[in-house]
Symmetry: C2
Subunit: 234 residues, 2 copies
């Protein structure tokens, strides 16, 4: 398996390029519109064929490259059943998506948004904004719910083996990966916290509205391409 973590410094977003080396089929998780050229160059240099683009949720802080990448490569866009209507494949908890010999199992992990899913690959999971490194995504917009997120993290994600690698969609301190075991012990918002304590923390974060939300959410519901002016983004 080929595995590359990629970073967009403007939005502090991690994108993941994963490929099955036998078939050369590749997928991207949470690509960023402004980095589409970088990502496609890398796919091409590595001799890969991009067949799938996965979004973990409808992002509010950056615009997905999924639509651009679909236009340029024919890749299928995959998202949660409650997510962007533009996706080719809407997935539910327990579904498995195959890319060559790779298998991505879908785990519903709502709470940051109601459409949030994580993608599990055996030794690692891509958690979107549901579980971050020592943190988690906010729950105050896009039908977010601290109660729901508490259950997603403690019942779904924390049920995975402790050694499972956790690759999130963001980090703001330069950390790149964590494990389920580490987050059980050291996550600042949820380790050792009751549901009520977690909800209280999430209710009092006092965060400003995301700068890009009014643009990003409608754009991302259209896979990053806001018709009829799609070419303005390219």
């Amino acid at each position: 398996m080929l595995f590359r973590q990629l970073f967009d410094a403007t939005s502090s977003t991690y994108t993941y390029l994963i490929a099955d080396l036998a078939s050369r089929k590749a997928l991207l998780i949470d690509p960023v519109a402004e980095q589409a050229d970088r990502d496609l160059t890398l796919v091409q240099e590595l001799g890969l064929t991009l067949t799938h683009v996965f979004d973990t949720h409808v992002h509010a802080d950056h615009v997905t490259a999924s639509g651009l990448l679909r236009e340029r490569t024919g890749a299928k866009v995959v998202g949660g059943a409650a997510g962007a209507p533009c996706a080719d494949l809407h997935v539910n908890h327990g579904d498995v998506v195959r890319v060559g010999a790779l298998e991505l199992q879908v785990l519903a992990t709502p709470g940051h948004t109601d459409d949030s899913v994580s993608y599990f690959m055996g030794d690692r999971i891509f958690t979107g904004d549901a579980l971050l490194i020592r943190g988690n995504g906010r729950t105050d917009f896009q039908n977010g719910s601290a109660t729901t997120l508490y259950d997603s993290i403690t019942r779904v994600l924390f049920a995975l083996p402790d050694e499972t690698l956790v690759y999130p969609t963001h980090d703001y301190k330069g950390l790149t990966v964590t494990t389920i075991g580490e987050e059980k012990r050291f996550n600042k918002r949820i380790a050792g916290k009751s549901r009520e304590q977690f909800i209280d923390i999430m209710d009092h974060l006092g965060l400003p509205k995301p700068k890009q939300i009014d643009v990003a959410v409608p754009a991302n519901r259209a896979c990053g391409l806001v018709r009829p002016d799609a070419h303005a983004m390219q």
Copy 2:
């Protein structure tokens, strides 16, 4: 083996935390002064003992945390023989430094600076600024030499197996890792270029003087602690 790539967004520097899981002994490669607290917190959370801090060279674009980390943990500072006088261990081409069961082999790769070394660990190499992803460090200060760097890259680094993972100290586009084989084919400055072409490219980069060089180089020759005012940096 535990392996964590860490990023300092201000200077676009990658730091590497590597540990032998049996002995829990750990090392850092190219830590950044401003991230010392982050890195020590991670070492502590993971239950590791920091025994060595490696610098690949005397940096001009950020201040090393090696001195701070030595003060706080007793770790030994390792650097190239022509590098910072403050290092506890000055290493030469072919030397092997052991950290628990881990072995780091020193490869002299001068040219970006005259003290630059790379650290090889079997399936991966930490190249400092000698070889970057699709690029390389500049050669116009600190006794840099394009001729020397051409030899370091083509004769030393490109002699490694193509599948060797290359972890550099910087990237400015959000790429995190490459391989020797990729750089042989796609490095913009050296792939398919003659020595003369490479020297010509390096001679005409027209880059501005690094902002931090007048502070960083003397500081880094003192492992980041400029006496007698060392505490001003902490």
